[in-house]
Amino acid sequence: MLELKTLESDETNLRLLVTGVDTPYINAIRRIVLTEVPCMAIDEVVIIENSSVLHDEIIAHRLGLIPIKTDLDGYNLPEECSCRSEFGCNLCRVTFTLDREAKDEPVTVYSGDLVSENPNIAPVSDKIPIVKLGRGQKLKLEAYARLGRGKNHAKWQPVSLSAHKHLPKIRIDAEKCNACGKCVETCPRKVLAKSKGKVEVVDLYACTMCRDCVDACPEEPSAIEVNWEKNAFIFILESTGALPPERIITEAVKILDRQLKEFTDQIAEVQKA
């Protein structure tokens, strides 16, 4: 039986305890989050004027890496859009404009200076420096954002972290343990604590399974044992801010569903033939 428990959740982070699944299952979700869940990023830039100290290409690259708040329901992937246009239409492209000039004082051009045609599609932060302009320098450009997938470019990854690890299993043999506290001192993640002459696990999820505590134990064989649960994982997701983490996961599951459906359809066809 699959079971989910939320360990931590805010606007960008999600930590889940997933029990009752095996490694290929959780790994499929992890990889779909990285490579298949679409999000928006600037893909084409038309430089109208650039007298700054950075080349056009560097500015275009910096613009591309800016994470953009994405509306998955309002926009189509360019390859799936009905317009079939190379350039894109209002349903698969968002235009940004930028026009800054340094007159008497040097200015920093920020992501907040990008003006979007749709106020819901905007950089996740207004404080990303794009370039600094010296007196008399000018930057004027138009940029086009599109939906895309992480497998084509990392700028289209909706996450900066998508990982899973085994749930640790720490067993302390109460009969062998002499409560010397060596393991408590050694543990780099403060997983263990000593209380009332006994060593206890206080923060199991922080354990990295480094087994330093096992090596530190003076008992022979060691009184503490570190292992992992077979079918339990901690799944960690950190969104870039483009999409809420819950949405990323549900979207990943939807994509996996669709791929499996395609697979069964193909099998049916093969059997018919």
Binding site: V53, L54, R62, L65, I66, P67, P106, S111, V124, S125, D126, K127, I128, P129, V131, K132, G134, R135, G136, Q137, A154, Q157, V159, S160, L161, E238, T240, G241
Partner: protein, 79 residues
């Protein structure tokens, strides 16, 4: 040159945190604590900020010097 937009390793957005980091560290705060409060947990993201040298201001000075020289030359040929 200028702070990279994202962490080279994991892809976390770091550019918007640089200016606050630079100001607070200059004011005497402990860099490690500033990084913690900015939410940079992994060492890949922390080194991006810690090892960054913002030389774009220096480059801009070359631009200003070149402008001054251009201006001087223009005046010289006018006279």
């Amino acid at each position: 040159m200028i702070i990279p937009v994202r962490c080279f390793t994991c892809g976390k957005l770091i550019a918007d945190k640089w200016e606050e980091f630079a100001i607070r560290v200059k004011a005497g705060e402990n860099p490690a604590e500033v990084l913690d409060s900015l939410g940079l947990k992994r060492y890949c993201c922390r080194r991006m900020i810690l090892s960054h040298v913002d030389i774009i201001d220096e480059i801009l000075r070359f631009h200003e010097e070149a402008e001054k020289r251009k201006e001087a030359r223009r005046r010289y040929y006018q006279e």
